[in-house]
Symmetry: C2
Subunit: 197 residues, 2 copies
């Protein structure tokens, strides 16, 4: 009984995550949005070790380098190391990487409001860094620009990303899926977006 | 040559960390400060897995539970997974844990402006969780109250803790060591504070 309660709480009904999500049930970004124009002067930070961060002089990646002239699937989540749901979310994209490639997708991108060193360690732990490109959004500027942030202080996380996915062609959003609650993986999983491509 | 440049940059002279630190060369907290009174209503978040976070109902730890009637050595650092310097900082405390116990220290505490799930994963990776108590300060409220924050956006980290250590008896700071630059471990290491106890 106890484990079933915990499992339910972890995977589908964490009250505090739901309450955070209830602050917003939609996002400013939508199908048709030019994601590069919607977040001007915003860069993401490619996941890497601290030593690689130093040797790269803490370089960042402009959005146009990620999206311009490319077919991209991008998904965002509340945080590295945030449990069973996140761990299911990433592996589903990893396990379907060949299907994405077969549909002409140039890159599958995972982004979260974490620093790039934490993202790198998490990607390595999930053994997903070869299939998926991981990026940090350490100051949340990308997610704030797209109105995809939510307050998860009740879960000891602070301002974080909602759980979402998008299919983006040359910077234009062709499909967008934002979970009503960050604890859900109802519309932002790999299966849904594979059907939308 | 290249590796020596990287090593020097990583361990002693990361320009961006130095520039971050130059914003402040001292902290409001000082020897004699009552750390519980200086940060009223502030709690830290014990490092744990996401599942343990859920089962604990995302509980937090009031400062009095950490410091009251105890002899505590506490040290703060800019972030989990931030490289060679941090990896040296934590192991030095871990490796000296028996010396701290022999001097009557009840607990050695590591704190950082990270969430408790990232802190837990990092502690496990360093195999230090049995010797040291790790806490997150996810919203930075503890370090802000003590005036121990610095802007490390240039290192893709955002607002983080300075690198510091303190010997605290029943909440009263008996010794405080704050590095001039977060990339240094000149005064905040285990050896220095062992001599101060």
């Amino acid at each position: 009984m106890a484990s079933s309660v915990v499992k339910r709480a972890t995977c589908s009904a964490v009250a505090v995550l739901r309450s955070g999500a209830s602050l917003r049930s939609y996002a400013r970004v939508a199908s048709g949005t030019d994601i590069i124009a919607a977040a001007p002067n915003v860069s993401l930070q490619k996941a890497r070790s601290w030593d690689d961060g130093v040797s790269s002089k803490f370089s960042t990646t402009p959005l146009k380098d990620i999206f311009k002239d490319k077919k991209v699937v991008i998904f965002g989540l509340p945080g590295a190391y945030t449990g069973v749901c996140s761990n299911k979310h990433v592996p589903a994209y990893k396990d379907n990487i060949e299907k994405f490639k077969a549909k002409g997708i140039d890159s599958v991108v995972c982004v979260s409001i974490n620093d790039p060193y934490v993202m790198n360690a998490w990607a390595e732990k999930l053994q997903a860094q070869d299939a998926i490109e991981f990026y940090g959004d350490f100051d949340g500027s990308f997610h704030k620009s797209l109105d995809l942030v939510t307050d998860l202080s009740g879960a000891l996380l602070g301002t974080r990303s909602q759980r979402w996915s998008a299919y983006v062609v040359n910077g234009k959003v062709k499909a967008l899926n934002v979970e009503e609650a960050p604890s859900d993986v109802k519309v932002s999983g790999a299966d849904t977006i594979l059907e939308q491509i």
